[in-house]
Amino acid sequence: MLLTTWAVPAVPNDEMSNMTRRQQGILTGMPFMANITPRTFVDALGRKLFLAKAPSRVVSMAPNVTEMLFALGLEEKVVAVTPFCDYPPEAQSKTHLGGTNPSIEQILALKPDLVLAPQDFIQPDLLQNLDRVKVPTFVLQAAQLEDVLSQIQTVARMFDRGKAGDELAATIRQRIAAVKARTQSLARPRVLYVLNTDPLQTVGPGSFIHQLIEAAGGTNIAADTSMAYPRFALEEVLARDPELIVFPVGTEEGIPDEDQQQWRRWSSLSAVKHNRLVLVPSVLVDRPGPRIVEGLELLAKAIHPEVFTGESPKEKP
């Protein structure tokens, strides 16, 4: 395994023929791809990973990666997932890595030929150790909605499923475009997204959820903060008067019901007056995976019920 796949450090000094690659780049019409062979992948940290053949034992270090792999029909290649990977349900029958900081020994014992990890989910020292013991590790990071699609395509290409990846990405892209098309011409209601009630923490530009709200045809009232997850002043909420308050609900915590009660105290808010406090499953909006489009559709439905009435969000492709 270790002979056929290895992680190449970011230093661009590979000794493959420049000529071939340049020609390849020119032939495909993408000169900027010229120093990457089709089997070399560049991750979010700029590290190059060369995979001679499709990996057959992959470790997923986050729920969104697991969902991505299952959506691409790669469930047989997955050898381990995190305890938080609850979708699809079959994922839970895979070996579980330890909580937030998995043990490198366990990962090594699984003999993976690929570890897929989002940047936020992998501790730098674990990444270093994985590099040291030459376990090929690919770090993913999605800053934009579009990044999720390209990630799906990249992961699919790693496993020689380029076509499936393109199709999945195209379907999702189409559904996103459909939501945007239907909400584009409408008024954009003011939305408050409540990550935490006390202290109030919301989402700002730079967060994924902010982009979803905007793409769903809403206006995030905290759009002028410079942080991704700012603590937000309650008085500014009252002054900006959101027309819709969104609470993410998890599988475990039942707190948002209570949070709603706390928010009803502010009877001057339009959202409270018109009873527009909605719950959204947090897994659909904060996991940059294939189901993100379901989250987008749910948000669009919550923000513009007049357009989406009588429709349930479409099933996963």
């Binding site: 935490n196 700012p230 002043a233 998890g250 915590e253 019901d257 009660q261 502010w266």
Partner: protein
């Protein structure tokens, strides 16, 4: 109590001496304690009260949402015109409760810190040294992990924290008083150990928690004053009032205890009873404060020192002035925290240390400071 002969008396009553005897050194603390006049007490307390009221009014004017003077006035005077005004809601239902919370929490932390520093005779003592805060934090973490935050009308989390704090009070007291008396070094050590054990359990809990709950725990631990419910305001306010009265009753005893337990006992102080009272009052107040506001550092340790530098170490003055000073510091710090990057906010603990730290260093370098009276 101590009669010091003047040189002239000595020369009259004693046989002639070649070297006149040096006057006996009086114990300055006792002297200044006796010299503290009611007038000075009233003057300082009056000044602090005025400053506190001034700080409340000052802080009311500032917030993330800028209000014009006219809006402020109509909200303050409850004029008919502004009945449905957002400004009124902002002023009376958001800013004012939060400022009051800052006052109460700051006052509680500072007075507890002052009392505990005297009790254990250690300038490093603060409300968190007794292990109660870690117990409360552990309680809150477990409450969050089990999803108990929603019970009892949104007070589930403070309640869990308070139960955790109360259990750790019992534990610390049980360890420290296991041999009948309540030796202070044993109390300190018991607090440190309970702190360590609770922190370890909390780290264990956070390492197995799911990320969403972990996030809430971290937010809670950073400390916050935002949007207190009326219930928690009344609760913490009444705890503070009772604690101030109980501690003030023991303030003279604390003055003597600060000198030394043996000295205090020889002067008729029931040191055992005083120590137990001060410990229990401080512990309960700390537990209450931590459960409503999380951990807000700095105020409890440094405000008593600031007050000692400025007004001396007499606990009859030190305790109430610390309380008001802590309240003022926290109110002002919170006002900065909620306005400086508006509409976003930053944790108030950042500001208390950034404002208080340099001021304390300045005083420490320019004034003569004695920890004990």
């Amino acid at each position: 109590m101590i009669v010091h002969p003047s040189p002239s008396q000595a020369s009259m009553s004693d046989p002639p001496m070649t070297i006149p005897p040096r006057p006996l050194q009086t114990y300055e603390g006792v002297a200044s304690w006796q010299a503290l006049r009611a007038r000075r007490w009233y003057a300082v307390m009056g000044l602090m009260m005025l400053l506190t009221c001034g700080a409340v009014v000052f802080c009311l004017q500032f917030g993330a949402h800028a209000l014009t003077m006219a809006q402020l006035w109509s909200a303050l005077t409850f004029s008919e015109a502004g009945r449905e005004d957002v400004a009124r809601v902002i002023l009376w239902e958001i800013r004012f409760p939060r400022i009051l919370m800052g006052l109460f929490v700051g006052a509680s932390l500072a007075i507890t810190g002052a009392a505990l520093q005297a009790l254990v005779r250690n300038p490093l003592a603060d409300p968190y040294v007794l292990g109660i805060s870690s117990g409360a934090a552990l309680g809150a973490t477990i409450g969050l992990a089990l999803g108990l935050g929603s019970i009892v009308g949104g007070l589930g989390l403070p309640l869990c924290a308070f139960i955790g704090g109360a259990l750790s009070i019992v534990l610390v007291y049980g360890i420290a008083a296991s041999q009948g008396r309540l030796p202070m070094h044993q109390l300190l050590l018991a607090g440190v150990i309970v702190n360590a054990v609770c922190s370890a359990l909390m780290m264990f809990a956070t390492s197995i928690l799911n990320p969403a709950s972990l996030y809430r725990v971290v937010l809670w631990l950073m400390g916050t004053l935002s949007a207190p419910s009326i219930l928690s305001l009344i609760g913490i306010g009444s705890c503070l009032l009772i604690a101030i009265l109980l501690l003030l009753r023991e303030s003279q005893a604390l003055n003597l205890l600060a000198v030394g337990e043996d000295a205090a006992r020889s002067l008729g102080v029931d040191s055992d009873r005083v120590q137990r009272t001060v410990f229990l009052v401080s512990a309960v107040l700390t537990g209450a404060v931590v459960s409503v506001s999380g951990m807000i550092g700095f105020v409890g340790m440094v405000v008593p020192h600031l007050v000692r530098i400025l007004c001396g170490a007499d606990h009859r003055l030190l305790l109430p002035v610390s309380a008001l000073g802590g309240g003022i510091l926290l109110m002002v710090a919170d006002t900065v925290a909620r306005t400086v990057v508006a509409p976003a906010e930053i944790p108030v603990g950042v500001i208390t240390s950034l404002i208080g730290g340099p001021f304390f260093i300045y005083l420490l370098m320019t004034r003569k400071y004695r920890f004990f009276a």
